[in-house]
C-alpha cells in the first residue's frame, strides 16, 4: 500500500474517531435529556394518578354524602319503573309508612293504594311515562302498614336516557296534617259564611223588627196631635216624637254604616230627573221647616235639565244627610242648595252640589274630624244629638260613586259642604219609567181618588189609614202581597203603597206580579214602604219596578209629598195650554189648576172638538142660568134654587170645574136639610163670582181646543 494511501486511511480514521466521539458526546447529552424527561414524565404520571385517586375518593365521599342525605331527608325519595314497580326507595319510608325498603322495592305501587285511587294514580303515572311532562305534583292517600291512611304529596319527574323515559323519580311527603287542616279550614269557612249570612239576616230582621214598632210609635204620636191634646199633653207627645225620631235615625245610620263597611252597597245607575229630585228635596224640608225662621232655596245650573244616569237613591240620601245636618245646626237664616255642571265631556258630566247654611259653623281645627266615624264636633255637646255617623256615611256614599266631598266653614258663620259626582246624560228616549217625571203639585185637593195600601202590620194599617182618611183619600187595604195582586186585578187604583216584608208574598214579589201580568194597575205608581233603611233594599225596590220608596217610620208630610208627586197627571199630557195674557187669575187659583184635567181627559179623551162644543154650550147656555142663582136666593125661592142647583151641578163637572160642582152639591144638600138659609146667599154669591172670574179661562180653553184657523 502506498504511503499516500496509508496517510489517507489514517486521516480518515482520525476523522471517523473524532466524529464518533462527537456523536457519543451528543448522544450522552441526549440520553441525559431523555432521562430527565422520563423522570419528569414519571413525576407527572404519579401526580396524575394521585389526582385520580383523590377524585375517586371525593366521588365516593360525595356518593356517601348523597346517600346519607337521601337517608336523612324526611321526604321519601323513590324510583318507579315504567311498569309501576318500585326500583328504589329511601329508608325513611319505614318511619313514615311502616314498610321496609325491601317490602317496597320490587313491589307494584297498587299494593299500597286503596281501590278508589288505583285508577287515577295509574293514569297519572302513565301520563308521566308517555307524555314526559317535566315535573308534576299530585296528592293521594296511601295505606300504611298499620292500616292508617297517610296522604302523600309528591313531585314526580321522568328520567330519560337518550330521549327515552326509563323511569320516574319522585319526592314524596306526608301531607296528612295539612290535608286535615285544609278540611278543617273548609269547615271553618263554611261556619263563618253561615255566620255571616245569619248576621246579615239578623241585621235585616232587626231593622224590620225595630222599625215596625217605632213606625207605630211615631205614627201614633202624629195622630195624637190631632186628638186635641192639652198643652201639657202636646208637650209630652212632642218629646215622645222627638225621641222616637232620634232612635229611628240612630238605627238607620248604624245599619247603613254596617252595610257600607261590609261592602254590600253597590251603585245602581238609572235615568232620573235630577232637577226634579232637587225640587222634591226642597219640598220635604220646606214642610219640615214650617214654622221655623229658616228658608231653603235650590238653585241649579240651567244646563241641568232632562234626565241624568246615576244612582238617585244615593244622591237623595246624601242630600238628605247634608241638608238634615244643616237644618240641625241652623237656628235662623237659610239653607242654600246649589248644583252646577263643572265639567262635561262626551262620557261624563261632573256635577258639583253644595249645601250652605248660616248655622253655627265648624271650628277650623275640627273640620278634619267631621267625616270620621262617631265624631261629633258641635260645641253645645248634648244639644245636637246623633250617632256621629251621618257625615261618615255621606262621605262613603260619595266615594262609592267615585266622587269627592269637602267642607268649608267658619265658626259662627255657617258651613258649606261641596261634593262632586259623575253622571251621564240620558238620551231623551231612554227613560221608560211608568210614572213619567214626577210633577210637583201645590198642596190642595189631591186628585188621588183611590189608593191601595198593602200592609200586614195592624199599627201601620191604622196609621196610614188615619192619614188617608184625614186627607179624604179613599183607600183599600190588603194585608199581604198575594191579596194585593188579587185586588189589583179587580179594580184600578191611582197608586199602591206597598210594604216590603210581609207574610205569604212580600212586596217585591207582589210588585213583580202586578208589573208582569195584565191588569188595570200594571203601570200605576207603586211606592215601597220599607222598614229597612238599607240602601240595597231601596235599590232592589227600584229594580223590581217600584217607583219610589218611603222609609218607615215616615212623617205625614213625607207621605203627602209622595202622594202629590205620583198623583195622576193625565191632564198634563194634554196639549200645551196658552194663557190669555189679559187674564189675571186669583193668586190662590193658578189657571193651570182650576180645571180638573183628569176629569176632562176621562170625559173627552183626545176628542177636542166635542170638548170645545161642550165648553161653548156651557158658556152660552149654562152661565146665564148660573148667574140667576143669587137672585133666586134673594127671592127666597128655595125650591127653584134646589132644582136649578141639581140641574146645573153636573154641567160644572163637564167643563172641569169639579170644585165648584162639589160646592153646588153641598148647597143643594143644605137646601134639603132645612138648615139656616142665610149662609146660602153668600155661598151662591161667591160661586157666581168665581164662575165670572173663570170665564176668560173657559174661553181660552175653547181657543186651545179649536182647530187652528
Amino acid at each position: 500500500m502506498p504511503d499516500n494511501d496509508i496517510d489517507l486511511i489514517k486521516r480518515r480514521l482520525a476523522r471517523e474517531k473524532a466524529a464518533r466521539l462527537q456523536a457519543e458526546a451528543i448522544l450522552e447529552k441526549k440520553a441525559l435529556a431523555l432521562y430527565n424527561a422520563n423522570n419528569q414524565l414519571q413525576h407527572l404520571n404519579d401526580h396524575l394518578e394521585q389526582q385520580v385517586r383523590d377524585k375517586l375518593g371525593e366521588l365516593e365521599q360525595s356518593e356517601q354524602r348523597y346517600r346519607q342525605l337521601i337517608e336523612s331527608v324526611q321526604d321519601i325519595i323513590y324510583k318507579i319503573s315504567p311498569r309501576g314497580y318500585f326500583t328504589f326507595v329511601s329508608p325513611v319510608v319505614e318511619k313514615s309508612l311502616g314498610y321496609t325498603e325491601a317490602e317496597f322495592v320490587g313491589t307494584h305501587f297498587t299494593r299500597f293504594v286503596d281501590d278508589d285511587y288505583r285508577k287515577p294514580l295509574t293514569d297519572f303515572y302513565l301520563a308521566m311515562m308517555t307524555e314526559g311532562q317535566d315535573s308534576t305534583y299530585n296528592e293521594f292517600p296511601i295505606r300504611s302498614k298499620d292500616g292508617r291512611h297517610v296522604w302523600i304529596g309528591q313531585t314526580v319527574r321522568p328520567i330519560t336516557v337518550d330521549g327515552q323515559i326509563v323511569e320516574l323519580v319522585a319526592v314524596a311527603r306526608d301531607v296528612s296534617d295539612r290535608k286535615l287542616a285544609e278540611q278543617e279550614l273548609a269547615k271553618a269557612r263554611q261556619v263563618a259564611e253561615e255566620a255571616q249570612r245569619a248576621e246579615k239576616q239578623f241585621l235585616t230582621n232587626m231593622s224590620h223588627e225595630i222599625r215596625t214598632p217605632l213606625n207605630a210609635i211615631i205614627g201614633m204620636s202624629h195622630l195624637l196631635f190631632d186628638t186635641q191634646p192639652t198643652r201639657q199633653q202636646r208637650e209630652y207627645i212632642d218629646i215622645l216624637k222627638t225621641s222616637a225620631d232620634f232612635l229611628h235615625s240612630l238605627i238607620s245610620d248604624l245599619l247603613d254604616m254596617t252595610k257600607i263597611e261590609a261592602g254590600r252597597i253597590e251603585v245602581s245607575p238609572r235615568p232620573f230627573d235630577l232637577a226634579g229630585l232637587l225640587r222634591a228635596t226642597q219640598k220635604v224640608f220646606e214642610i219640615k221647616l214650617h214654622n221655623r225662621p229658616v228658608t231653603i232655596d235650590v238653585m241649579h245650573d240651567a244646563r241641568i235639565s232632562g234626565d241624568f244616569i246615576g244612582d238617585d237613591v244615593m244622591l237623595n240620601q246624601i242630600l238628605m244627610n247634608l241638608i238634615g245636618n244643616a237644618e240641625k245646626f241652623t237656628e235662623e237664616g237659610s239653607i242654600q242648595i246649589t248644583a252646577r255642571i263643572v265639567q262635561e265631556d262626551d262620557n261624563r258630566c261632573w256635577i258639583e252640589f253644595s249645601v250652605t247654611d248660616t248655622g253655627v259653623g265648624i271650628p277650623e281645627d275640627k273640620q278634619g274630624l267631621i267625616f270620621k266615624k262617631f265624631r261629633q264636633v258641635n260645641p253645645q255637646g248634648h244639644k245636637y244629638k246623633g250617632t256621629g255617623l251621618g257625615l261618615a256615611i255621606t262621605k262613603e256614599l260619595v266615594e262609592i260613586q267615585e266622587g269627592t266631598i269637602s267642607v268649608r266653614s267658619q265658626n259662627g258663620q255657617g258651613s258649606t259642604f261641596t261634593f262632586k259626582l259623575p253622571y251621564v246624560r240620558a238620551t231623551a228616549t231612554t227613560d221608560n219609567r211608568d210614572a213619567g217625571n214626577p210633577v210637583l203639585k201645590t198642596v190642595g185637593k189631591l186628585p188621588v181618588s183611590h189608593v191601595m195600601v198593602v200592609e200586614d202590620n195592624l199599627m201601620n194599617q191604622t196609621y196610614i189609614g188615619s192619614l188617608l182618611t184625614k186627607w179624604k183619600i179613599p183607600f183599600t187595604l190588603a194585608s199581604d202581597g198575594k191579596k194585593a195582586v188579587e185586588e189589583a186585578k179587580q179594580q184600578r187604583f191611582d197608586m199602591i203603597l206597598m210594604d216590603i216584608q210581609m207574610p205569604i208574598m212580600d212586596g217585591y214579589e207582589a210588585t213583580v206580579a202586578i208589573r208582569s201580568t195584565h191588569n188595570p194597575n200594571q203601570h200605576i205608581p207603586i211606592i215601597a214602604l220599607t222598614a229597612s233603611a238599607m240602601l240595597d233594599h231601596k235599590s232592589l225596590a227600584m229594580e223590581v219596578g217600584m217607583n219610589d220608596f218611603l222609609t218607615k217610620p215616615f212623617e205625614p208630610s213625607q207621605l203627602l209629598n209622595i202622594l202629590e208627586r205620583y198623583a195622576p197627571t193625565a191632564a198634563s199630557e194634554a196639549a200645551p195650554r196658552k194663557t190669555d195674557p189679559s187674564v189675571k187669575p186669583k193668586p190662590t187659583l193658578p189657571a193651570d189648576d182650576v180645571l180638573d184635567r183628569q176629569r176632562l181627559f176621562e170625559l173627552y179623551g183626545s176628542d177636542k172638538e166635542h170638548a170645545a162644543e161642550m165648553f161653548a154650550t156651557f158658556l152660552d147656555d149654562v152661565v146665564p142660568e148660573l148667574l140667576q142663582l143669587p137672585d133666586l136666593c134673594t127671592d127666597q125661592n128655595w125650591s127653584m134654587l134646589a132644582s136649578m142647583a141639581h140641574k146645573l151641578k153636573p154641567t160644572l163637572g163637564m167643563v172641569g170645574l169639579s170644585r165648584l160642582e162639589d160646592e153646588l152639591r153641598q148647597i143643594e144638600r143644605s137646601l134639603g136639610q132645612n138648615a139656616d138659609k142665610e149662609p146660602l146667599v153668600q155661598r151662591c154669591q161667591a160661586l157666581v163670582e168665581e164662575v165670572t172670574d173663570l170665564l176668560p179661562v173657559l174661553r181660552n180653553e175653547i181657543k186651545t181646543l179649536s182647530p187652528k184657523a
Partner: protein
Amino acid sequence: MKGIVFTELLEMVEDQYGYALVDTILDQSNLPSGGIYTAIGTYDHAEMVTLLHSLSQHTTTPVHELLRAYGRYMFGSFTRNYYQFIERSTSAFSLLNSIQHYIHVEVRKLYPDAELPHFAMEQPSENHLKMYYQSERKLSDFAYGLIEGCLAHYGETATIRKTELTADGSQVLFDIVKD
C-alpha cells in the same frame, strides 16, 4: 445546519469520486469544525457553502447541478432512514403535500433546532401541483433534486418547471405536471 446534510454529501462524494476527493476538499477548505461531522450534530451553514464550492472546482460541475444530484441522492437516504414518514403516502403528490404540515412538524420534534424551508402548496388539478419554496438558505436546487427523487421513488414521471420568484433565489415556484 443538521449534520446529516454534511455526512450524506460526503457519502455521495465518496460513492461517486472516492474518499480521496473527500479528503482533499476537507483538507483544503479551512473549516471551523475541522471537517469532523456526525449526522446528529449541528454545523455552520457557511461550511456547506465552502464544501460545495470546493467540490464544484474539483469536479468542474456547477454548484446547482451538484445540489440537484445531491437532492436525488438524499431522498434515497431518507427512504432508508425515515421510512415511517414516507410509507404513509402512496403517491408523490401525496408525500409532497404532507411535507409542510406533517413531515416538517415531526422533524422539529426530533430536532428542535432544525432550519427547514417553508412550502406553500397549490393543487389546481389532480395531476398538477404548485410548490412555492421559501428559504433564506436558498437551496432550491437541493429541493428540486429531492422532488425528482420522490417522483422516482413512487415510479412516477412528471415535468417540473422551476421559476425563480426573487433574484436572490430565496423564493422559487416548482410547477409540477404529471405525465
